[in-house]
Amino acid sequence: MSNELTRLTLTAAREGLAQGRFSAVELTEAYLGAIDSSAALNAYVLATHDKARAMAQTSDERRAQGDVGPLEGIPLGVKDNYATDTVRTTAGSKILGNFVPPYESTVTGKLWADGAVLLGKLNQDEFAMGSSTESSAFGPTVNPWRKTGSTTKLVPGGSSGGSAAAVAAQLCAGAAGTDTGGSIRQPAAFTGTVGIKPTYGRCSRWGIIAYASSLDQAGPLARSVNDAAILLRSMAGHDPKDSTSAPIAVPDYEAAVGASVRGKRIGIPVEYRVDGMSSEIAMLWDRGAQMLRDAGAEVVEISLPHTKYALPAYYIVALAEASSNLARYDGVRYGERVAGRDIVEMYEKTRAAGFGPEVRRRIMIGTYVLSAGYYDAYYVRAQKVRTLIKRDFENAFAEGIDAVLAPATPSPAFGIGEKSGADPVEMYLQDVFTVTLNMAGLPGISVPAGLSSEGLPLGLQLIGRPFGEEGLFSLAQVIEEAAGRFPVPEAWWA
């Protein structure tokens, strides 16, 4: 019975609960059982059994009273950079190894208010800095997917790698992730799941541990386009506690799933055909364009001339903001403290011991590009380039383009340890197709569209106008219907 329940999409589980075929308590127990036998994946850094059972019990009681929220009784996992009241929250870092927030993030608070159940906290790259979930203080998460006939361990992508792995491995009905440069969409592509980064300002950032505040956005990872639409509706919305959150009403995204895309103009950016793109990815992209054409959309080539500068500009803007945001980890208010002769030595030793190597590197680069004499050459220039990147998209939209179709990643999932060599830039190139959106504040959805020759999932990305998430759900549904869904073939870890 338990596999029968965890196999259901969120949409199907919602229906089963509504029809009384099973209770929230039964559904939650099935997921807790699956989590307990998934240690080999290292997707969860904390399973909250007692809290999950209590929340499920309360949900069943509410339902019995006729009080049914949009996510009533749905068990979810949450990336460990969302503050969860009285539940340890580490952002994958040793420096927050014992941090227990006395408050709840706005987005997770909305999920619980809509009836969802917290199963636990999900692994991630330390402070969301990475594309493989290998930089977590808890060790890497393993992708539930393996190459056909191989037992080599692959990364699930990152930084929301625990979220993506848990959704794909059916260890939660859906998950909350965050995306600063591709951290929802790239892991979604690596695990055959659907992930959407909404428009900057669509979800509140309050209570989410900050990496780069002008780029960070919350969003869901899910097993179908419809599941993602249901989750985003609950997560989105204005929050007075986040001055960058948009005071715009949240539409019923689920109603957009299945809507016609006839007559929509889809742009194919020529600059995304980067050197060395694998023929598999290029073919997938062509097939995706054909799927949209078959559904009545018009596909045209467009130019986004500043695309190649998005990644270097991103690494200046994001790391500058990170160096500022992470100044708060000083061993005074929370986290581990290492004693020193004086307060400066205490700071230096605390931060050297508490941060992992990638975080230390990123803070130092950010400090450097903001330091006297380099600020104009690096930071101000990068912010100007950011204006140009955004203008590229504005020009395309002004010419009548409704959405842009691009690959989600340059390759399928790679092996653990494969890209953690001496050159950090090799890992940064993972984000080549995803960072442009964060730089421009635009929404993007990653939807699985096929398998590689080695049997690994590949994703396509649709990029929309500001607050055009509904259109993205309609287009992504076309791809999901044409390409099918991609469940993990075998639960080898259980």
């Binding site: 007075p240 130092m364 690096y378 100007k384 140009l388 955004k390």
Partner: protein, 95 residues
């Protein structure tokens, strides 16, 4: 642009991160790889382009200047490595 080892030490100090001699050599290579990568931006013509300050056009919201949260010192201090008498405790700062 590239950094020498003295710059690595200076930046580490600015960032308040202790580094060992071994780490300085590694960091120099890694930081220079990243800086070489971002140097590509020097090719872009940014004459007359405004630096982005806000990715979405919006007006900063204002609220009434009143206390709307707080009175929870014990909760706030619960995560402190060291607290005394309702305050964070740190090594002596002022002589």
């Amino acid at each position: 642009m590239s950094v020498d080892q003295a710059t690595v030490r200076r930046v580490a100090h600015l960032a308040r991160i202790a580094v060992t001699d071994d780490e300085v050599a590694h960091l120099q290579g890694e930081l220079n790889a990243i800086l070489a990568f971002v140097d590509e931006l020097a090719q872009v013509n940014v004459d007359g382009v405004e630096p982005m300050t806000s990715v979405t056009p919006m007006q900063l919201p204002l609220r009434a200047d009143v206390v709307n949260d707080g009175d929870c010192a014990a909760k706030v201090l619960a995560n402190a490595p060291l607290a005394e008498d309702g305050f964070y405790a740190v090594p002596k700062v002022v002589e």
